[in-house]
Subunit: 475 residues, 2 copies
């Protein structure tokens, strides 16, 4: 039944052309396997892990494709924010919630909120103003005020995906919960910021608009959380109520007599109609589907889907997980971690391949120095923006804590500052969204922003990854 | 970062319009959950199981959508062969191979091959000739000889997906391996048949062409099998060689000293740099990716991807599975079963929703009797076609067996005949491919063929499903 597959693919419009797309998919899956194996082999090395391996392999593949295609294109798949937000991000964030140490997370809830909300706002203002100041001096003239604010939002978004790879929650639970929690709340803040940039009249920023922004943020945060918690509780209720795991080997007399009538079955055949009720499959399927449903529901209501699925993960690991069979527990724990792991590798491979986006590099190739300067300025602003909120807010947070164990000391503050430096696929997705139309641009300044984003992402990821291999599950 | 999601979706071109598609996805995932829960609740009932529940829920939803959309459309998603062949079928067939009882399968290998290859050919000839004979009398004039042969191929394809749900391999291993094995080999045969219909000049069928067909089939069968086996063995080799599961808690002195130098970390932080090597995630990810890779590679070389992934599943369960950690074993066993389970439910929900394809029904609505007659003729031909090979071939197969346990007695022959009656999503996909262009047709006879296929699929599925709930895994 497979002959028509290539024409079917073409027909469906999802994949561009017949055989080429099958080749691309093959190559991509093979590269994913290679990343896992090579990443594992390089585990001993200080500078490598799966993410960096994926980035490097992506870059190398990009070069090869670039050469074989005659300097026309470097990717197998065009960077699609859709793929990222609909398929790759949900399992990563859900798994983070599912495996997070809940006690630490809730103990530091206020600090996390301050970092995520107030901190992001501070960083956003500094990066926006800084970019405006420096870029105007550099004669990058075509950028509008909206573009500068977007730059602020793009480079204020801590990449929770990368961050998860750098810190280990078992070894540094306080830091992990701070940095990761900040990343999640950060997302909700970014939603509000982006909305603001696109809908509010920013030339007349007054207290009314500011209040509206704060109200919007509170609504978004609370409703997203409630939705996630409700979805988690519902799954726990359903699984508990239905006792999936306990409906084993039930015989139905009616049915048996029917068997005998119908086919004159002998003894051997009775078992044929036994009811096993493959409960584990059902439980795992239901947990996966409900988690995904919560994410999509949040999308539906224009909430922060990342926050929703994160809290859904927390509730599921706290309630649902204890109602299922033992094999469901092992399966969900590892299956979710695996999905998340593959999605991460996928993203890094993707970003690596996309980094050689020849179209944009060609546009900015007449001024390589400018691109380097812009990237450096942005990196500097990111460092400055983070410093401007991590240290003061940590100080404020320490004032409210009594126990010295809950205080964030200077060393830890440095780690929080440094760990949140990374910009990843989220920044890429936002930059593509702001500065290109369907992944293409011919405007010089827009192309410059894309290439600078790529540079910042690659640089910050590689620098931060001096041997950061940690596990989310230990065996 | 979610605000732009709707426009992103629209941009990507994968989903038709912004908010509507998010609504559709929500509804679809919610319906999947409902199918699992309601299917579980109805487990006691003789006539229901998850598949029928999914079909019924799909039909009901179709009616509701039909009414709310003002009789315009009945589906959330247009039936896409791409979705079916690329995402839903691989996990189902792989899982079947992964959980199949290998001993029984190989013991009956010759019988399975006869049923799958010779039997399908016999059935194909009978259905084609029968359709030609009856439909010409009924004045369905626009069908070409190619269409009749396609009808033969469409209705000779035993649906392995549905069949898996009817038989239980633990209770009736012989029957299960016969019927399921037939379904898998059947697929390879169908590839050859479809190729023949489209490329060979069938008006001049001579011994040369026939030999070419046989050679083509042998090549396809052998190369697909070899590819699957190689992929399975490679995964076993990689996992064994890399000892994923044994690389736990390794400390790297170099790295540690770097830590101390770099951040003056105290004792607490040493663990931070411990190497857990989340081996289970890696192993499970690698198994999943390699299995999918084998499927896509088969597509790439125009082989029978179903055969390939089936044998890959067999080899993985026999070799790879024994090299991985205990938690990987539990996880793979249940995760693959869960994926397969969700894919099955998805297909039935999809088919149920698609059954009310108003466009086609409207075209044939002037002659409801004709549609019913065509469906009945097709059902009759399917029964006849199966009878024409199951009983003679079983007789031949019995002649070669010495042990009475290996012989297929009359009762079992009846079961094989009856169990293979079902036509499912595979037939639907082929019918859509042959008789529509991108899911649409205005030709009366083509629409008639689609509606008849839908009728046959619904009827055969419901009739065959008198309480067939079995498990693929037991807890």
């Amino acid at each position: 039944m497979m002959i028509e597959i290539s024409s079917l693919l073409a027909k469906s419009g999802i994949l561009a052309s017949d055989h080429t797309s099958v080749v691309s998919m093959n190559l991509f899956v093979a590269l994913l396997c290679a990343c896992i194996v090579i990443g594992h082999l390089l585990e001993e090395s200080r500078w490598m892990n799966e993410s960096i391996t994926a980035l490097a392999i992506g870059l190398c593949t990009g070069v090869v494709i670039l050469l074989t295609s005659g300097w026309k294109s470097s990717h197998l798949l065009v960077f699609s924010e859709d793929l990222f937000f609909i398929y790759l991000l949900p399992p990563i964030i859900f798994n983070a919630g599912f495996q997070v140490k809940k006690k630490q997370f809730f103990r530091n809830f206020m600090t996390i909120m301050m970092f995520g909300a107030v901190g992001t706002l501070i960083s956003f203002i500094i990066v926006s103003l800084g970019a405006m100041h420096f870029f105007k001096k550099m004669n990058i003239g075509t950028l509008t005020i909206g573009d500068y604010l977007a730059i602020g939002a793009i480079f204020s978004a801590t990449d929770s995906v990368c961050t998860l790879q750098v810190l280990n929650q078992d070894e540094t639970p306080l830091l992990y919960s701070l940095v990761f929690g900040e990343g999640v709340v950060n997302d909700a803040t970014s939603v509000v910021l982006f909305n603001a940039i696109q809908s509010f009249d920013l030339s007349h920023l007054n207290s009314g608009v500011a209040l509206q922004l704060v109200g919007n943020f509170m609504y978004l945060f609370i409703s997203s959380t409630v939705l996630g918690v409700l979805a988690g509780l519902l799954s726990a209720y359903i699984i508990k109520k239905l006792y999936f795991g306990r409906l084993v080997y039930k015989l139905n007399a009616d049915e048996l007599s029917l068997c005998f009538l119908f086919m004159k079955l002998d003894g051997d055949y009775i078992n044929f109609y036994l009811n096993y009720g493959h409960s584990t499959d059902r439980e795992v399927a239901l947990m996966m589907l409900m988690a995904y449903l919560s994410y999509m529901l949040a999308e539906l209501f224009y909430l922060s889907a990342i926050l929703t699925v994160f809290f859904c993960g927390i509730v599921m690991s706290h309630y649902t997980w204890h109602n299922v069979t033992e094999s469901s527990r092992v399966t969900t724990k590892h299956a979710f971690a695996t999905l998340s792991f593959v999605a991460e590798i996928f993203i890094f491979l993707y970003v690596g391949m996309d980094a050689l986006d020849i179209e944009k590099w060609r546009v900015v190739s007449d001024s390589p120095g400018k691109s380097a300067v812009v990237s450096s300025i942005l990196l500097g602003l990111i460092l400055l923006g983070r410093a401007a909120f991590v240290f003061p807010l940590s100080f404020l947070s320490n004032l409210t804590k009594k126990s010295p164990y809950d205080k964030v000391d200077l060393k830890q503050q440095v780690t929080v500052w440094w760990a949140g430096l990374m910009r990843g696929a989220v920044s890429m997705a936002l930059a593509y969204n702001q500065f290109t139309s369907k992944g293409h641009t011919q405007l010089r300044d827009n192309a410059l922003m894309i290439t600078s984003t790529i540079t910042v992402v690659l640089f910050s990821t590689v620098v931060r990854h001096h041997k950061p291999l940690q596990s989310r599950t230990q065996d």
